[in-house]
Symmetry: C5
Subunit: 283 residues, 5 copies
Amino acid sequence: MSLALAGTALAQQGGGMPAPGPMPPAPMAAAPMAPMAPIDRAKILTDLGVFGDFAVYKLRPEYAMLPAAERKAAAAEVLALVEKHKDKVIVDAYLTRGFDAKSDYFLRVHAYDLAAAQKFLTDFRATKFGSYSDVTENLVGITKALNYITKQKSETLNAGLFAATYTDPTPRYAIMIPVKKNAEWWNMTPEQRLKEIEVHTAPTLQYLVNVKRKLYHSTGLSDTDFITYFETNDLGAFNNLLIALAQVPENKYHVRWGNPTVLGTIQSIDSVVKTLSDADRSM
Amino acid sequence: MSLALAGTALAQQGGGMPAPGPMPPAPMAAAPMAPMAPIDRAKILTDLGVFGDFAVYKLRPEYAMLPAAERKAAAAEVLALVEKHKDKVIVDAYLTRGFDAKSDYFLRVHAYDLAAAQKFLTDFRATKFGSYSDVTENLVGITKALNYITKQKSETLNAGLFAATYTDPTPRYAIMIPVKKNAEWWNMTPEQRLKEIEVHTAPTLQYLVNVKRKLYHSTGLSDTDFITYFETNDLGAFNNLLIALAQVPENKYHVRWGNPTVLGTIQSIDSVVKTLSDADRSM
Amino acid sequence: MSLALAGTALAQQGGGMPAPGPMPPAPMAAAPMAPMAPIDRAKILTDLGVFGDFAVYKLRPEYAMLPAAERKAAAAEVLALVEKHKDKVIVDAYLTRGFDAKSDYFLRVHAYDLAAAQKFLTDFRATKFGSYSDVTENLVGITKALNYITKQKSETLNAGLFAATYTDPTPRYAIMIPVKKNAEWWNMTPEQRLKEIEVHTAPTLQYLVNVKRKLYHSTGLSDTDFITYFETNDLGAFNNLLIALAQVPENKYHVRWGNPTVLGTIQSIDSVVKTLSDADRSM
Amino acid sequence: MSLALAGTALAQQGGGMPAPGPMPPAPMAAAPMAPMAPIDRAKILTDLGVFGDFAVYKLRPEYAMLPAAERKAAAAEVLALVEKHKDKVIVDAYLTRGFDAKSDYFLRVHAYDLAAAQKFLTDFRATKFGSYSDVTENLVGITKALNYITKQKSETLNAGLFAATYTDPTPRYAIMIPVKKNAEWWNMTPEQRLKEIEVHTAPTLQYLVNVKRKLYHSTGLSDTDFITYFETNDLGAFNNLLIALAQVPENKYHVRWGNPTVLGTIQSIDSVVKTLSDADRSM
Amino acid sequence: MSLALAGTALAQQGGGMPAPGPMPPAPMAAAPMAPMAPIDRAKILTDLGVFGDFAVYKLRPEYAMLPAAERKAAAAEVLALVEKHKDKVIVDAYLTRGFDAKSDYFLRVHAYDLAAAQKFLTDFRATKFGSYSDVTENLVGITKALNYITKQKSETLNAGLFAATYTDPTPRYAIMIPVKKNAEWWNMTPEQRLKEIEVHTAPTLQYLVNVKRKLYHSTGLSDTDFITYFETNDLGAFNNLLIALAQVPENKYHVRWGNPTVLGTIQSIDSVVKTLSDADRSM
């Protein structure tokens, strides 16, 4: 699956004033349940005012003890649910088992209306697979226009953000990292914060070719200010990118950076459910 | 459901001396159990000396495995309980599943007598639905008169708090955020704290039109100084409001701001219970 | 139940040198088990060198699923145990369900010999009700003579501590709050600490009429320096008292103040067990 | 049970350079399993290079529901295991139920070879009683020669450590407290640290008569630098000792002091198992 | 089992720029599943760009209640899985029961492709033994070239790192300790960090003879910057090494050092599974 991104996300951090630009669509009253056209994936992944809902799950051990027939049917039930909600949400899945003590998989749900994401995730918990899943982390964010590295405020870096594009093979890995800044950061003037974000952005440009990123704003919606989301095929490069992000003064203002750091392989929903359902194993 | 509020809550923070004004009603000895008139909702939501008891719950997975008939009857049992206690408490419900790892729903109970809130919540835990719910957070607060942004102490801002009123569509979302200040804050003089609360209040006035708020005082009753409660239909505006609240010096004194941040959709109790009871699904 | 107290507890904080006075009774070798006179409640609640053992419990959900007959018998079994141990311990009970996520009730046990408190609490865990209770917090402290606000060290305040007495209706609420001070506090000279405790005590005198308090010393016995225990019928006054305690420099030395703050209604043991046993409800 | 100690343990804290003296016995290759002479208790409790393994357990509620016959046999099975391992380890037991939320009992295992302690504790988890026990804390330390209060470095205090000896009745209580120091402490010169340990030691000398102590070094073996272990019959004196230890500058370098503080009654293994097995109670 | 190491790992810490040298092999597209030659153990343990995946497990109590026949077969099933994946991963096992509250054993998996480590660990969770294991910690790191103590940057120390080699008996113990540095560290210049790493490395040289070490880089992959891994037969020496590492300024920049510290005995996978399966005990 391709993601239409650029380096824009990293430059969207912070600030209280959304840049002037197209207003997000007004939230609609609860739409009728009749089947409608599926959401345009490429569009929702670039629109502003879109909600990202990250739900991280750990499968309970009792699931493995269900009869094989029930586990075999699990994936189809989840896919049917995704199909049912396709006019309201898109869903991406990631297998995290083997990388993280607190999870086996996570879902990344996008919706124009957050209540629609809740509807999907609530219905998901009622599927066989979802009913055996415990939520271990759940974060909600919204996409916004660039705050700092705009053409007006930081022309050169803004050009740099669009000068390169992802050229590696299709990413196999995704990483979700919550970020929260302290009161000292938020009390700095916009100019001071712009300066630090410029210093933060410059060393990241070389990774545009091998790391995709997307930013969500969460202050007030969850216990984090941002949800940073990355995709890559080159974890060595990703490790170097995160070290570069640690090596700038902006890092001194972090009161949360990870906790958890959720690393997973990007897979189809079908594959995630089947892998964890171990459907070919009889009890 | 409409909430009679203004921006008063935010201005009620802090201080040890309640402003002179009507005394809260003296707590009564345990009132007789005979059916009495239901509590006046609009009045209890504006009275001082009222207790707010926020109980946050996660449903245990075993609930989903109960026979459909039991789950179908769950909502009626809870509604009957609310009816039984209607002369002592009012109850609001919120669905949080899909937004929060630590909860599926929360209840906000108001009572003039905190023991009456306990009676209701204890009886609630004895209903089928309540008996399968684990409490994950529980905070108690009391409403008090404005401490800072009063007509006497801060006339212009006080006027600003009442100059605008909520004009958006009926709020669909509620957010409960505990707040605790450090010893340095509490040791500042009332004049110093007034100044910081004025700086805190000013940028919030523009959100009176799209975010409702209510404040409860908790020092000594729970591990927080305040419970801040918001309702909105515009989560993008809410995110901007909370960023504005982060960007003032008063934020530097916070030792708790969230943890948890509880976001939910505002629903009838019937709807919350039915949604989580998945009553149409047979086992 | 009446408690013979004064404001002495708050003034007993800190210091490593007990004031000269009557020595606590030497711990006896394990006393014979023959029935003896019950402990003098009023005396043990004012004696020095007495152990207070606070055990905070959460009932497991499986308890509610026991047959009604078993739950009906639960209270009598607990009362019989209290009767059996009456020559060694006194026991007070508090219902916390509806106020606290981490507990449903707590017990406050007093004994001259801590091993006797352990014997009671161990036997309690073997009762039906106790066997379904998980301990979520357990703190041990000892009563000591005043350290600071003595007649010799602080005559005026000492007089103030005894100038007023509790005049409100019988308290319905109790609050248990652990307190721990940092190394900086403990390294201050006795004179410096006396000064801060005087500043701490002065604003509390007005609450002698509506808040009872008792202090236990815990350094080395549990992960806290003190256990502060309060009773009141006026939670608004209690909230103001705790704000006053927050507003003094002594608060800057706290590394634990709550965590948990345990608020409950004061009830007979019989009432606590019966309320949580929901004995009239058949399964 | 008598413990051959002196005040040496407190003076053994810190430093990276063991004092010159007899080298601890070289760890042997895995010794043969043939029955050998039991370990000399008095010797292993004073030797250097000995491992102390503190395992803290909470009994699962299901244990109480086992048939009485199984619970009756539990103690004998554990004693047989201790007997089987007597040539490799000694084991002390402590009942903590009623004092601590996170435990019911703990074991203190000594061995010259840490793998032997693991063998015992692993076999213990396979006994009926052990199989129903969850480990809630587990710390490993090693005994070393005095670092600071040696005859060469601090002659007067060293004499003081041996000038008095325990004279109270046999201790009934034990307390285990982990201690960890910050980087600032560890970066001080040996002379600076010696000075602070002298100030730390001086006020403890008066408690040699009523508190026994033993020190284990844990840096790198567990998440603590030291395990401090005390025995006493006088908890009031112990509380005063720990306050004295709080009141010295050395306390300012602590990043862990407790967490948990584990207080228990010293009992035979047989007594601990029988008490918690409630063997006389039928189901 | 012998490990081909030197002191190189400790000197590999930090920095964002891998030293020039042979590039790690480009990650292959998902390799075919046909049996291939097993991975060269000595080579993968010295190659760069290799992933180390540390999975720490606690066995659920229900495992001990399985019929003896099932527990007897557990080890063979795990060995067969290791055999099946031998062309993609190598696996080392460690028994931690008796040393650590949060675990019973851990696995250290190496792979050139992290997805292959996930595949193995996911399949492992589907074995009988794995299905009864809860993951309590899971950390991922990658091996990189030396950052600091290279011939070019620090010639003398670099020579020292290779001047001595492990001469003790085969190590019986392994210790895994996560390490994370603060923003202040990461914002120091490379020259400043080199200086501190030199001071850090010098006192470790004497332990080359009795402690093996290996370093993994984790920033962005888990909530740690490094995973340090040690093997030794002399825990007293290891304790002194870790104290030496505490006593340098570089330690002042640690925000995580342990938490957990995982100590275990090095055993064959067969031995770990059999020990914890207690296969000779009937239910």
